[in-house]
Symmetry: C2
Subunit: 352 residues, 2 copies
DNA sequence: TTTGTTTATTAAAACGTTTTAATTACTTTT
DNA sequence: AAAAGTAATTAAAACGTTTTAATAAACAAA
């Protein structure tokens, strides 16, 4: 039932040439540069035969011989988190165009898992890695870089390390979301963040702090740090904030925003009447309820394509001097219109 | 800088045996069956040397020689949908234990994309496929089956085709969610579904219909069919339903529920005061707002593991008579406590 | 004609495994 | 002591490419 695969050899026989020539044509070193030159007509004929026989190159053989797997690994925090899932799809699509296969993995913010995944991917054979580094992974990342494995960091960075990366201008995003809240007249704005030492989070906090200061609200600036494995504490935090008449929250991530909103609603408070909200990333719930005054829409598409382009470049010139590029993307701040907000508040009262 | 990889040959030299023997030991055909027998001590020695040199088998060479890629393809509707993302992660984890690599792809419910993906995966070389078939893909799926490529269908089935599958007991799930709504005293319960001819959706509808009939509400049973590329129409539908004093909706999928809720809130109605809700799957918003009276929690873990186990079995006995297994999973219905519901309603009024 | 240059082609080695068939070294059995 | 088994080992082919180094053909220059 299973039919033999067509090989380069079959094409050679059919076209009456050597297998080497077929190989040259297939990798179109034919016309390119001064490497191998193949007669135009012969090349044409070979291509036609290949087409006719429906030739599909054998990847294993290719890889075995050339040492190139044409596979890359993408390691994120959690592939089932919308932000990363979207980026992953984007990388995948883009990689397809460049004839690369992508393997995915999730660290769950655990450096041990990261190390393990890298080990697995290396053994499977990958040409390079895109990694979202987690807390405590600095040494692991440094190690990869030291081994001269093509690497691009995504979303977060590792300090004092010369390696390519694609990140958001998180400081600016933090500044502008805070400013959106201030424009709406809020003063007691507090930020809810993680206690992890991630570069992107730190930058967001920095943006918030600066903005509060710039608007003479420096003394109101408070940043709460939650452990990511103790998110339940967010409820106490919010209750306590309510006592202190806090008016608005800036959430450092979509997960925090989700947990925060959940806690707010559990306590019977309403948004934005009791608490105004701004945050990073969106999530499904936001789309449905339109709760946030402002949120940061991350340029998913760019994250994906830029990271992949950098990686491919780095793979192709693996032996060249280790230049590296840092790409900083500009955040888009999405604000809900003030009227809209009012209307929904009024309606709630009318209905209530 | 880059160090040479350790090969089977290095081990052979170091241990003073032939490469064949090393290969035998590595594939531990050593002790097994009556195939190859290797002296216990020699085997031990070889393993030690391998360990010492930190040997990692070269996958490309293995694949080239044996024809087995140890890679499977998983094709779902949309890998960034939480339901599929969770299943994917689960399959991935499970596959890892069996030393399989997983490639992912999304059809976006487009049979053309499915066909394309299958082509791509086949060329990359996969040992088998797990597929969530989309509408209009019957012929494509049949084709795969005909070519004797190991295949397991997930979540949905194709009629009149002997192929393994893992699905939910959708009829029962439909019945029981409807019943939960009825128990809360609702009578005018309508279902919002897709116009696509997917087996799982059809079964859900069937369950709803039967339940309504069983409770003497057969004449109230109405199923609305929306085109998946015209979801915006859901708003008109709901407005019109409000006019007719419809009390509750059963949504056929989490996407529909999301869109439906969004439309309900846009119009200023409240849940469950104005519309009660039940649906299939959960989503992030539900977790936050606890809106649904009842929802179907799908056994993600089982979907993943069962599908993979079936596939691996089918890969291993590829030449054997084509037996196939159908696994039907039991849905878990999650109901919110009636008091909870009341409380939140009261609070809303007090606050409003 | 000889020599050199460019253009087009190929033979053959290599990549690291798996697997078949053959070989060697021991035991038994006759 | 020869024959027949059995257990342990190995040589060598094969998988389908890429790529180096060699060769052949055609043409231009000497």
């Amino acid at each position: 039932m299973r039919t033999k695969r067509v090989t380069i050899k079959d094409i050679a026989t059919e076209a009456g040439v050597s297998i080497a020539l077929v190989s040259f044509v297939m990798n179109n070193k034919a016309d390119g540069k001064d490497t191998y030159r193949v007669n135009k007509e012969t090349a044409q004929r070979i291509l036609e035969v290949a087409q006719k026989l429906n030739y599909q190159p054998n990847n294993a053989a290719r890889t075995l011989r050339s040492g190139k797997t044409n596979t890359i690994g993408v390691i994120v925090s959690d592939i089932s988190n919308k932000f990363f899932a979207d980026i992953a799809r984007c990388i995948e699509n883009h990689a397809y165009k460049h004839k690369y296969t992508v393997l995915f993995g999730s660290t769950d913010e655990n450096p041990q898992k990261l190390e393990n995944l890298i080990e697995v991917f290396r053994n499977k054979g990958i040409d390079g890695l895109v990694v979202v580094p987690c807390e405590g992974a600095d040494e692991i990342i440094r190690d990869i870089a030291r081994q001269n494995i093509p690497l691009v960091l995504l979303d977060r960075e590792v300090s004092d390390l010369e390696v390519s990366s694609v990140v958001l201008n998180n400081r600016r995003a933090g500044y502008e979301t805070t400013e959106a809240l201030i424009r709406r007249g809020f003063t007691r704005i507090e930020m809810i963040s993680y206690s992890m030492g991630l570069s992107n989070i730190r930058e967001r906090e920095e943006g918030y702090r600066r903005c509060m200061q710039a608007h003479g609200k420096g003394e109101n600036a408070v940043i709460h740090h939650l452990r990511h494995d103790k998110l339940a504490k967010i409820e106490d935090l919010i209750r306590e904030a309510r006592q202190r008449r806090v008016e608005a929250f800036l959430f450092a991530t979509n997960t925090l925003a989700g947990q925060g909103l959940s806690a707010i609603f559990r306590n019977g408070w309403r948004v934005p009447q009791d608490f105004a909200i701004a945050c990073f990333d969106t999530n499904e719930a936001f789309d449905i309820y339109k709760t946030a005054i402002a949120y940061v829409r991350q340029p998913i598409e760019q994250f994906g394509t830029e990271a992949l382009d950098l990686l491919i470049k780095s793979i192709e010139q693996r032996d060249k001097p280790g230049s590296c590029t840092r790409i900083v993307l500009t955040p888009e701040i999405v604000e809900s219109a003030p009227e809209e907000e009012l209307r929904s508040a009024e309606q709630a009262i009318a209905e209530g």
